[in-house]
């Protein structure tokens, strides 16, 4: 699975996710990636793209839950994303997200996640495992 989230100079947010799914999956199996609110979600507060075991991500409506914690609990992006990922069975999920404030979060409960990010103030990161 691959994904990208972005906020542009005008403050617009967007997310995109694409995948081949699970190895050895049954023909016709749909994962989290195309299900809005599970693997992919964006609203005026944040944009989220998830990856991992689709069945877990769907059950936990991962992408939408990040937005809900921000919207209804007033949590900042990093805290909202960390809390959602912590609630999904270990080894099943990773996500990247950006917020309307330009915060970036790349969080996962797997051994690693291929990830990269950059912000206008000059920060950038490319990695696989926890630093």
């Amino acid at each position: 699975t691959v994904g990208c989230v972005a906020i542009d100079s005008s403050g617009n947010l967007a997310t995109a996710t694409s995948t081949g799914g699970l190895v050895n999956k049954m023909a016709g199996r749909i994962g989290d990636t195309p299900i809005i609110g599970a693997g992919t979600y964006a609203n005026p507060l944040c944009a989220v793209s998830a990856t991992g075991k689709g069945e877990s991500i769907i059950r936990h409506t991962v992408a939408r839950d990040v937005a809900v914690l921000m919207e209804h609990r007033g949590l900042p992006l990093k805290e909202a994303a960390a809390r959602v990922v912590a609630d999904v069975p270990r080894g099943d999920v990773g996500l990247v997200a950006v917020s309307a404030a330009g915060e970036v979060s790349m969080v996962y409960n797997t051994a690693g996640m291929f990830r990269a990010c950059a912000t206008e103030d000059g920060y950038s990161e490319v990695g696989i495992w926890p630093e």
Partner: protein, 181 residues
Amino acid sequence: MGWAIALHGGAGDIPRSLPPERREPRMATLRRSLDLAVAALQAGRTALDVVELVVRELENCPHFNAGKGSVLTSDGTVEMEASIMDGNTMSCGAVSGLSTVVNAISLSRLVMEKTPHIYLGFHGAEAFARDQGVETRDPSHFITDENIERLRQAKQANRVQIDYTQPMKAQPPTDDNSRIG
């Protein structure tokens, strides 16, 4: 706070022992995609354009599980899926069950922008792709030797694998859903 971008190439059981010949092509694609995105954002492109162009870049890299390099179903076929969403308008598009479309993410954007629907799947999505004239290839274009081997391992272990699951010894069938995904 200005523009910001984040991208991923999949999460999973990625061993720290991953050999350089498996790690470097992926890292190079992440860096190239990040550079593409930064240049596009600095040029004033919209967030929607940027997320689409980054995911196209990743779909076209055979080392990631999307587009070319998609993993295989138990039938040895590819069934690709994607979705895209605009935060401001909450417009969104999604596709599933694609076996010939080179960039599923661009087809999902066309679903968002050219149809009254959100989600098209399987033969309807393939027909829409032909109708829209997006690039398509023979399904064999998307199948790599590495993924044929991964399917063989997964079948041998009688389990499904998320991205980067490492080969394991054959597991006795269990009654959880790990055998059927």
